[in-house]
Amino acid sequence: MTIKQVSVFVENRVGTLQEIMSLLASNNINLRAMSIADTADFGVLRLICDDPFRAQKLLEAEKCIVTINEVLGVALPDRPGTLENVLKILADNGYGLEYVYAFITHNQENAYIILRIEEVEENEKAEELLKANGIIVLNTCDVCQYSAE
């Protein structure tokens, strides 16, 4: 059970991020995590939210380019070395990483991390691998619930 991430193409123009946030907020879409990758010309805004498909529809109606893809989410005990452990498991098994980002929740015990492996089609296998190593793997519902606590 992977997590659905909404990615949005954002132009390097003053106010684009604010416009997107305002659109989602006014439609009661709750953001759980966010990261932006940017180049000199444009950025890719990645969002984890409580209703990815509704977010996609809203954004597309505003002529945004949007794509939904699956990413891995893990809950890690909030102490040193736990992320390194996950990265090591993935690396040892030949999985390359495109990007990683973390997000904050009200849950005091665990930190939540989003991982995007290069081989998207192997998401499920990678998940099984993490689970077999005792890592807590999250799905979209988990993310919504946990962070809403």
Binding site: F9, E11, T16, D41, V44, K63, I65, V66
Partner: protein, 432 residues
């Protein structure tokens, strides 16, 4: 074995062709001077009389005719035959300004049909072929031109006109059409529909004659593969007669111009100076056998190259390259001629929309070229790496086509300004 409709012309010794041209040019110039006040005034203004034109070598002395002249003389001002001798008009859609109306006498129609018959034969057609004409019929020259050529040759003509794709495919299968004539984009659409309907094995097409719009070599290969045919290019413009001004042969390396009817020149679009053979410039046509609407030194605005060489098909008629763009919007960047149409071709071939903006600037005494293009859902990805890879592919393809490095900027969809539906494509910031 190569066949010809008029071998005595198509494979004539160049000196024989030149004799024909000399004689017909002198006659035509005399006729327009005597019959068309507009031409007489233009020639008088340049200090030229018909006596000054003794052969093709004197052609350069005559003034050009441009689209503005056609507009000014609309509709009858350039008519060189009595209206009672005219049997037909054809017309352009007139997207830039007023439409053009071209008049034809019966002899003009016969000449045009002959040009198109040569094109069909060059594409392997005989009187035993079934020629499906899926160009539009009506004011547009595409349908009537190829229809006339097919009649002239004696092939069975199937005048389906454009549209109603299911019926097109049905007739194509039922009648065993062997040659398809239409625009390349419609050929592409038909090819896809035929394959979708699973009817690829039911068609007997062997060749296609496609023209009236720009198309790339990639598109040619695609259509050829999808339909299992050889695809031939054909060129023409309503002002000169319509399709058949020039046509492709089995060599597929340029279009043979029907030089017994049309004299081609290449000029520098800025100075009007005639350029030597092989140089790139604006294509100019002079009609030398038409009666009703013989344009003299008509500037087509098409940028092109002419090449006279022994063609593997056996024809001696001069060849023109596929037009590379329009002189109206030619840009000179770092000394290189760049046409928006070239950029458009690259964008379409790489999965982008043909909505773009070209920004030319001068930084530190050197020209810069930036191509702004709208992001598409197909190219977008959640990783910058993938998008950048696509961007790099586009930069490489542009460099390959233009011989220039361009910067590519991706912008959000629907953000490139449009005026009257068309994008404002070129922004030249250079202060020259």
């Amino acid at each position: 074995m190569e066949r010809y409709f008029n071998p005595e012309i198509e494979c004539a010794d160049p000196s024989v062709l030149k004799e024909i041209q000399n004689e017909r040019l002198v006659k035509t110039v005399k006729r327009v001077y005597e019959n068309v006040p507009y031409y007489r005034a233009k020639m008088e203004a340049s200090g030229i009389t018909p006596e000054d034109i003794k052969s093709v070598d004197d052609l350069h002395k005559l003034p050009f005719v441009t689209k503005d002249d056609l507009r000014e003389a609309y509709p009858y001002g350039l008519l060189a035959a009595p209206l009672s001798d005219c049997v037909r008009i054809q017309s352009t859609s007139g997207t830039t300004g007023k439409r053009v109306i071209a008049f034809y006498t019966q002899n003009d129609i016969d000449m045009w049909d002959t040009c198109c018959a040569r094109a069909i034969v060059a594409a392997g057609g005989t009187k035993d072929d079934v020629v499906q004409v899926s160009y539009g019929y009506g004011l547009f020259t595409g349908g009537p031109g190829l229809n006339g050529g097919s009649h002239k040759l004696g092939s069975l003509t199937v005048p389906t006109s454009s549209g109603n794709t299911d019926r097109q495919i049905q007739l194509m299968c039922d009648l065993g059409s062997t040659i398809l004539c239409c625009t390349p984009s419609y050929a592409e659409y038909l090819a896809e529909s035929i394959n979708e309907h699973g009817r690829r094995d039911d068609i007997k097409l062997k060749a296609g004659i496609f023209g009236a719009e720009a198309w790339s070599e990639e598109m040619r290969h695609d259509i050829e593969q999808k339909l299992g045919i050889k695809a031939y290019d054909i060129y023409g413009l309503t002002e000169i007669c319509g399709p058949g001004v020039s046509f492709e042969c089995s060599a597929q390396t340029g279009m043979h111009i029907n030089e017994d009817n049309f004299i081609a020149e290449i000029i520098n679009p800025n100075t009007g100076e005639v350029l030597p053979e092989g140089e790139k410039g604006e294509l100019v046509f002079t009609c030398i056998s038409k009666e009703a609407f013989p344009l003299i030194r008509y500037r087509t605005r098409d940028i092109c190259v002419l090449k006279r060489e022994k063609c593997s098909c056996g024809r001696t008629l001069i060849k023109m390259a596929k037009p590379m763009g329009r002189s109206d919007d030619m840009l000179i960047i770092r000394g290189v001629n760049v046409f928006p149409s070239q950029i458009e071709t690259v964008l379409l071939n790489n999965g982008y929309e043909a909505n773009y903006q070209i920004i030319v600037d001068r930084v530190n005494f050197s020209d810069t070229l930036e191509v702004v293009v709208e992001m598409t859902p197909e190219i977008f990805s959640d990783t910058v790496k993938h998008i950048s890879a696509k961007e790099k592919e586009l930069v490489a393809a542009l460099k390959n086509m233009l011989g220039l490095s361009a910067k590519v900027t991706l912008v959000a969809p629907k953000t490139i300004a449009r005026s009257e539906g068309k994008a404002v494509r070129i922004i030249d910031k250079r202060k020259i």
